[in-house]
């Protein structure tokens, strides 16, 4: 009897759990699903039958967004900016992280905390002086403005890479030195391969940030040819406020890279983003 009541209670709580989880699932996933399904419908269909499946799925919206609205250009611009910035950030972060973890030199702790403090500065605070400085340097309306700003936002990367390099045993590095490896060789050929996990964490964190960043391109870029995806989406919305099909296709295209990466590398994503949340 006791066993039965325990089982019944277990079943009841499972029922409650599933109901709650399904409700949240619908709230979280349905808007995204609606966006993807709507992108395969014609615009009149999106507004007339918003809840139905596409009558005749078509990729016409994607074609229109990509070609007619020049979303393709924005997509390629975003890939370019994300790739270059990510390359720079990873290079800077691994080098500095290694130095702070494994080398001794005068001023080490001061420099480390000086660099770490950058995480406490929200981007909005420095946008005005940054704009003025970049304007003086004639970098406004050029991707260089974005690159220098992104290359300066490395505090989180340095911090994470340092914590990964600390776990690399110093004896291995010493052994390499005794075998005649140069200081740079020790870093590049011995330490770095052992700290790959850290690279994955910061690469994911910065990829999401760079791909989705809105404020810096909004402020620094003027020429529509230079538009990144978020900027292109904003100008599409004004053009297509009544034409939801192509707009939903553009939104889907913008979301696909991070969402697909996320479902492939879920564990690393969650690790990277929660670490970023804790430190940022």
């Amino acid at each position: 009897m006791i066993l039965n009541s325990v089982n019944a209670r277990r079943a009841l709580s499972l029922l409650v759990f599933y109901t709650l989880c399904l409700a949240v699932l619908v709230i979280v996933a349905y808007p995204v699903l609606w966006m993807l399904l709507g992108s395969l419908k014609e615009s009149w269909e999106v507004t007339t039958y918003p809840f139905s499946l596409p009558l005749q799925p078509t990729l016409e919206n994607y074609r229109e967004a990509w070609q007619v609205a020049k979303f393709g250009r924005a997509f390629i611009n975003s890939i370019f900016i994300t790739a270059v910035s990510l390359g720079g950030i990873l290079t800077i972060s691994t080098m500095a992280g290694y130095v702070f973890a494994k080398l001794d030199f005068p001023g080490k702790m001061f420099l480390f905390y000086f660099w770490l403090a950058g995480m406490m500065v929200p981007p909005h605070v420095s946008i005005i002086p940054n704009f003025i400085l970049l304007d003086r340097l004639h970098l406004i309306n050029s991707y260089l403005s974005l690159f220098v700003i992104y290359f300066s936002s490395t505090s989180f990367g340095v911090f994470v890479m340092r914590s990964f390099f600390i776990t690399v045993p110093t004896e291995i590095l010493e052994a390499a030195r005794i075998d005649g490896c140069s200081e740079l060789g020790v870093f590049w050929r011995v330490a770095l391969p052992l700290a790959r996990g850290g690279l994955a964490v910061i690469a994911i964190f910065y990829f999401v940030f760079l791909w989705n960043d809105f404020m810096y391109p909004l402020t620094f870029l003027r020429d529509p040819k230079l538009n990144t995806i978020p900027l292109a989406l904003m100008s599409f919305r004004d053009i297509w406020s009544a034409d939801w099909g192509p707009m939903l296709a553009a939104l889907s295209l913008a979301s696909l890279p991070p969402v697909i990466f996320y479902f492939f590398f879920q564990k690393q994503f969650i690790r990277g983003m929660t670490a970023g949340a804790l430190k940022g």
Partner: protein, 311 residues
């Protein structure tokens, strides 16, 4: 014998050489980062304090005028500044309470490890990787008064007399933004709680079960006290994220209707880049800086106080 003594003799000199060599390598590897970090990340903080003391309408240096603390006294009498601060604070309070409770409840449920629980977690986290511009535009469609999903749904189930204009209603708009913000962000808080729960030793729960504690007792007397640190982190983190609120407001409402959703970052941005009040915009940025600096300073202090920092 001879080799040995010559080695001993050579050691101090080569050790010195090695240490300078390592210092040089260190500085060399730090240099590329510092070249960008100092002028574009540290200098602007000094810059924004300096600009906040100026009356400066444009971006040409010739029009700069030193006014001391005038921008700050103007701020005290600016009811739109206070309105924006009020919106920020309201946003922070509602989001902290609702999101923390929701995330904790879901984390507790999903930690029960039933079928599909990993799937649920995975999907709940997905919105965090989306762009706020995508989220803002998408929910703009969903909340559209005439053709949006929600109002159409209300009409379909016979509640056609309830047709809120959502983002167009000054009383509702801020709450709508909070809901969208939480839709995107709650997964992060949830995973912080899951990590916290996984750190609690299993024996504690077994012991409680043996002692006949109810689920409610376990939650209130074991889990919540042990999660105190995680709760602090989640609350502080949500606070910082709420003060960074910018993209969603710009995309969805532009601060309207009638300033109902204008927050500090948005007011700072529009004052500076729309109306060219660089000095005044900078003084708002300084306030924003002081608030977030205080909050993240608190987080730093709480986390480093005695506890070891992981990751």
């Amino acid at each position: 014998m001879q080799a040995n003594s010559s080695l001993r003799w050579a050691q101090p000199r080569s050790r010195l050489r090695i240490s300078t060599q390592r210092s040089l390598t260190a500085y060399l590897l730090l240099l590329p980062g510092l070249i960008f970090y100092v002028p574009f990340h540290i200098l602007p903080i000094l810059g924004v304090f300096f600009f906040s003391l100026l009356d400066w309408k444009g971006f040409s240096f010739a029009t700069m005028k030193w006014v001391g603390l005038e921008n700050y006294s103007k701020m005290l009498g600016d009811r739109f500044f206070w309105g924006a601060l009020k919106n920020n604070i309201q946003f922070v309070i509602v989001v902290i309470v609702v999101q923390t409770v929701l995330a904790l409840a879901l984390a507790l449920i999903l930690e029960q490890k039933f079928k599909l629980s990993t799937f649920f977690r995975g999907v709940y986290f997905m919105p965090t990787v989306l762009s706020l511009v995508v989220v803002g535009i998408l929910f703009g469609f969903i909340l559209s008064p005439s053709q949006g999903l929600i109002n159409v749904f209300l009409r379909n189930i016979g509640l056609g007399n309830i047709q809120p204009v959502w983002l167009g209603d000054p009383k509702l708009a801020l709450y709508v933004l909070m809901a969208v913000h939480m839709w995107k962000e709650f997964g992060l808080s949830m995973f912080l709680f899951i990590a916290g729960l996984e750190a609690i030793p299993e024996e504690l729960f077994d012991a409680a079960k043996v002692d006949g504690a109810s689920a409610w007792d376990v939650i209130w007397r074991i889990i919540i006290p042990l999660l105190r640190e995680t709760i602090t982190v989640v609350v502080i983190l949500s606070t910082i994220v709420c003060f960074k609120l910018f993209d969603l407001v710009v995309v969805m409402t532009g601060g309207g209707p009638f300033f109902a959703t204008e927050v500090l970052s948005v007011r700072m941005y529009y004052q500076t880049f729309k109306f060219n009040h660089v000095g005044y915009g900078s003084s708002i940025a300084v306030v924003l800086f002081l608030i977030t600096f205080a909050v993240s300073g608190m987080q730093f202090w709480l986390r480093t106080r005695g506890e070891k920092v992981e990751y």
